[in-house]
């Protein structure tokens, strides 16, 4: 049966019931067969008696350390809904009243970008969000943790990061990168990731917080239980900011699903698409 056939509604149902029925049928058809693995049981997931994932179970461990592996999505901060949204704002991930210590030139650039509603940001051209902005859109991120390497797969734009945990130091960099170069180590149960070697092209958020090639970031990840993780990111860029500053992003686990390829086509705007 095709989705279209199943989506024909029976007569005589009230609109609201109709929507529920149609939605349920569509979801069942599209997802029930595990289409694209959108709903597919994740192996090694602790489960409750009813079969649902036990998100309060202890965090799994790998070689004596917490295992961050899994598919995660950021928890949206409790900002009021904006009828004229610009996009994720790193300020929303900081304590109320926190001041970001921008240097004057960086502040001018930030204001200019925000005033233009974030027009011209790199993701508009399918270019990376980078650190930390790639954590902020509500798209899935898969952590794959191995003893000597942790890989982050971002569903957004199909981007990835490698975080080396084999003891190597941060490299000398002659070719700055969008995502920089990352090494990680454990401090107790906290995974501490240091990154440097950034180019200066990304925005720290959709409102246009700038950074330079001098930026170094530290991300501290803690998986508090099976279903929850927290990251504190510290921005240390003495050329754009007067001192380091931090934001906290929380993550919820998304078990029993899978990433879907997301290749961003820069030409899909109305000027480029053939309409008919």
């Amino acid at each position: 049966m095709t989705v279209n056939t199943l989506s024909r509604p029976p007569r005589g149902l009230s609109p609201l019931l109709l929507i529920t029925v149609v939605a349920g049928v569509l979801l069942g058809t599209v997802h029930g067969a595990g289409a694209q693995w959108v709903t597919y049981p994740t192996p090694h997931t602790p489960r409750l008696a009813n079969g649902k994932p036990n998100l309060a179970a202890p965090a799994p461990r790998l070689n004596g350390k917490p295992d961050l592996s899994g598919i995660w999505v950021r928890v949206e901060p409790p900002a009021p809904p904006d009828p004229n949204p610009i996009g994720p704002n790193l300020k929303d991930y900081m304590p109320a009243g926190a001041v970001i210590p921008l240097r004057p030139a960086a502040e001018r650039l930030y204001r200019e970008r925000s005033t233009k509603f974030g027009a011209g940001r790199p993701s508009q051209r399918c270019l990376p969000h980078s650190i930390p902005d790639a954590m902020l859109p509500g798209a899935l991120i898969k952590f794959v943790q191995n003893p000597e390497l942790t890989i982050l797969l971002y569903e957004e734009f199909n981007h990835y990061r490698q975080i080396f945990t084999d003891g190597r130091p941060l490299p000398a960099v002659s070719q700055p990168a969008w995502f920089g170069y990352s090494v990680g180590k454990w401090e107790g149960d906290t995974f501490v990731v240091q990154t440097s070697g950034f180019n200066d092209e990304s925005w720290l958020d959709d409102w246009g917080l700038p950074h330079t090639e001098a930026m170094r970031t530290i991300e501290r990840f803690r998986r508090t239980d099976f279903g929850h993780m927290q990251m504190e990111v510290t921005i240390d860029d003495p050329e754009a900011y007067t001192k380091p500053w931090s934001a906290i992003v929380r993550f919820d686990l998304r078990p029993d699903t899978e990433l879907i390829e997301d290749i961003c086509d820069n030409e899909t705007d109305s000027a480029h698409i053939e309409a008919k």
Binding site: N84, P137, K276
Partner: protein, 134 residues
């Protein structure tokens, strides 16, 4: 030229998020949240690509001429997770779409709600970012 029709959408209490800030370009930069428009017509094409699916509809203007309008939807991954596929609409399907007009005056709308002729909402549940997961 814009058309405004007082189309009474069936009173389905389905809440659709009216805000469409998008991961790939800023909603506020491209669309005017003060200019909501409702248009009806026949689907000519459904482009199912990232970062945003696009629904094209022929709409009759006041002189009866067909104008092709471009309605920007959520990304295909976000739509898929909410149960929609590229088969969900076919050319020729009659729909009513409401959304926010592009700031540049072109025939481009950021779609908030797409409704079939029988009142069924389609592509519903779109959220702030192009491919957010529900």
């Amino acid at each position: 030229m814009r058309q405004r029709r007082a189309i009474a959408l069936l009173g389905v209490g389905v809440l659709l998020v009216a805000t469409r800030g998008l991961a790939h370009h800023s909603f506020a930069a491209e669309y005017d949240n003060q200019k909501m428009i409702t248009l009806s017509g026949a689907v000519t094409k459904l482009v199912w690509r990232n970062p945003h699916a696009h629904l094209f509809i022929d709409v009759k203007d006041q002189s009866g001429t067909l104008i092709n309008w471009d309605f920007e939807l959520n990304g295909p991954n976000g739509l898929l997770r909410r149960g929609w596929t590229r088969e969900s609409l076919k050319p020729g399907d009659q729909v009513t779409v409401n959304g926010y007009l592009a700031r540049d005056g072109s025939h481009l709308v950021n779609a908030v709600a797409v409704t079939m002729g029988d009142g069924r909402k389609i592509f519903a549940g779109s959220s702030v970012d192009g491919n957010t997961t529900p």
